[in-house]
């Protein structure tokens, strides 16, 4: 709105710069998920990249940089809360299933109609052994890799 201080050519230059950054980060994301890195490292890199992209769109394209502090706080505060709430709950769910996988998966199965989890074998820590480690699968179709328990 009050970008009267910028000449419109400057504005266009910024828009195109953001466009190239967004494209570059998208390519980076698509490439990095196929890289031979630990799953956690890939996840963190991709999440940081996508949050920066979202921030760039909000800040430049939606002109949040030209709004007052009051509007920014009102808009962004609930989203920050939601973000940390989500991180807490998802990490908590992940940790619970690591510690008590037999209990939780049993409940999940009964409640959600989960299939393919009969004949599960637990290692000495109580974690599920990945399906491809077992050779006696009842049907040959379930070949998909399961990385939920690779550490």
């Amino acid at each position: 709105m009050s970008a009267v201080t910028h000449s419109s050519d400057d504005k266009r230059k910024t828009y195109w710069k953001v466009f190239f950054i967004l494209t570059a980060l998208t390519i980076f994301e698509v490439v990095i998920v196929q890289a031979p890195l630990p799953k956690l490292a890939i996840t963190l890199l991709v999440v940081v990249a996508s949050l920066s992209k979202a921030f760039a769109v909000g800040w430049i394209y939606m002109h949040l940089n030209h709004e007052t502090k009051g509007l920014k706080v009102i808009l962004l505060f609930p989203l920050f809360v939601a973000f940390f709430y989500a991180v807490y709950l998802i990490v908590d769910a992940k940790l619970q299933i690591r510690r008590h996988s037999n209990v939780y998966v049993g409940e999940t199965k009964r409640f959600w109609g989960q299939r393919n989890i009969e004949d599960r074998q637990l290692d000495e820590f109580g974690n599920t052994i990945a399906p491809e480690a077992k050779k006696d699968l009842p049907s040959g179709e379930h070949e998909e890799k399961n990385e939920a328990h690779s550490k």
Partner: protein
């Protein structure tokens, strides 16, 4: 509040043109009423998406049998869709910039390109859905893995696709109004509000692409 000095009096009269109520500069500065309304709507809409993604995250974290999405979803195709949405975002801001300079021809051209981008995105999504349904993935069941994988996928991408559809209709309305010369005076308040919605759709897709397709 303390931020009143941001506003120049001439500018405030300029943006107040399309509003029935002329507001004195307050905590929101010179932002028009419609713009504040759209921002608040987008914030709550963002919370809806956050709720869906949160549910997805918890279902996935609790399920050790969750498949790797790249085995079933076409990442290349959705990367192209992401790129198309980014392109349509940049054409949207360029349309607004052209309109502020009273360059009517460029404004209409860029608005049309934005609409085209949105339609291409919807086309890709229809193609993708058709493909997935043929592979046994429907809203309440999945032939090759946990049914929650299919449900959360269709819920999140479908809700987003509905936003893209609404955005295309919204932008078509704006395009029609631009065509009959409503924005020839360089007052782009309505176009900017439509742009806010459109950029939000792009922003959400950037996150959905990462959380649903890539991770």
């Amino acid at each position: 509040m303390g931020s009143t000095s941001v506003v120049h009096s001439g500018h405030s009269a300029h943006t107040g043109h399309n509003n029935k109520v002329e507001r004195k500069p307050d905590i929101f500065g010179s932002a028009s009423n419609g713009k504040i309304g759209m921002w608040v709507f987008l914030s709550t809409d963002g919370l809806t998406f956050a709720g869906f993604l949160l549910g997805y995250g918890i279902l996935r974290a609790r399920n050790p049998e969750w498949p790797d999405p790249s085995h079933f979803l076409g990442i290349g195709l959705s990367a192209i869709a992401t790129f198309i949405l980014i392109c349509s975002s940049v054409t949207m801001v360029l349309a607004q910039a052209a309109g502020e300079e009273k360059n009517r021809k460029n404004m209409l051209r860029f608005l049309a390109l934005t609409i085209l981008g949105g339609m291409s995105f919807l086309g890709i999504q229809v193609y993708e859905y058709t493909h997935l349904v043929h592979e046994g993935m429907i809203f309440w069941d999945f032939a090759k893995g946990p049914p929650q994988f299919a449900s959360t996928f269709f819920l999140v991408t479908g809700f987003h696709g509905f936003h893209v559809f609404s955005g295309v209709v919204y932008l078509m309305t704006i395009f029609g109004r631009a065509l009959v010369g409503k924005y020839n005076d360089g007052n782009m308040n309505e176009v900017e509000i439509a742009g806010l919605f459109w950029h939000f759709v792009d922003l959400v897709w950037i996150l959905v692409f990462t959380f649903i397709y890539l991770i």
